[in-house]
Symmetry: C2
Amino acid sequence: MGLSKTEAFSELHVELAELAKAMGHPARVAIVEFLVNHNACVCGDIVEELPLSQSTVSQHLKALKQIGLIDGEIDGPSVCYCINKEKWASMQSKFQSFFSNILENNNCC
Amino acid sequence: MGLSKTEAFSELHVELAELAKAMGHPARVAIVEFLVNHNACVCGDIVEELPLSQSTVSQHLKALKQIGLIDGEIDGPSVCYCINKEKWASMQSKFQSFFSNILENNNCC
DNA sequence: AACTTTAATCGTGATATTACGATTAATAAG
DNA sequence: CTTATTAATCGTAATATCACGATTAAAGTT
């Protein structure tokens, strides 16, 4: 169906999946990296850097913003996009736990 | 297009995105968790646990196997799926670096 | 007020994903 | 050899994603 049965899974699993999905495209990974490594954070700067059209970049920014990984602040006619540190810290800690659980408690047959 | 322009991005970004994408569905998160927390690892056991059909679970298992996060070993008519610890350790370290870079080097305007 | 710049949104098309039932292939059991 | 069990694959349908150009909206500039 293309519609995942999210209601059938635990909240944690759904949240982890949503966060992972948000990073599940190289363009979004690249956008985040760009925001971190450059002081620039204006949409236009990202469009220049990436091999994607303005509307496509805007869509990816929207996805990242929707889940809370970045914030967007209007600055004149431009928009300054910034990393939401709290959200990233929370994401890191959640995946940390998940990874640790896997690496520590796994005992396959 | 639904076809991501992977060739236009760095290998690291593509790899991170692929790994994230693999975890970008609650069913796959749940499958991994199940494999870790139960000694059972047979496909049928997972099907019983999840609210999904056998064919759908098989598809998710295939996706996880394809990227190397789990291994599948034939055991009679059944198949025993196991966590690939090396792959998970590598994934953890890659995301670790990514998260750390974000939390340390970010300085928004 | 008219114009420019910037980014969001709209409309659209192509491809991917998710899901299921049905079928098939492989192994074990009788 | 026949039958049962298990899981992969096939076929199909519905929905989502990705991408782009065109348009719109909002804010500055002249």
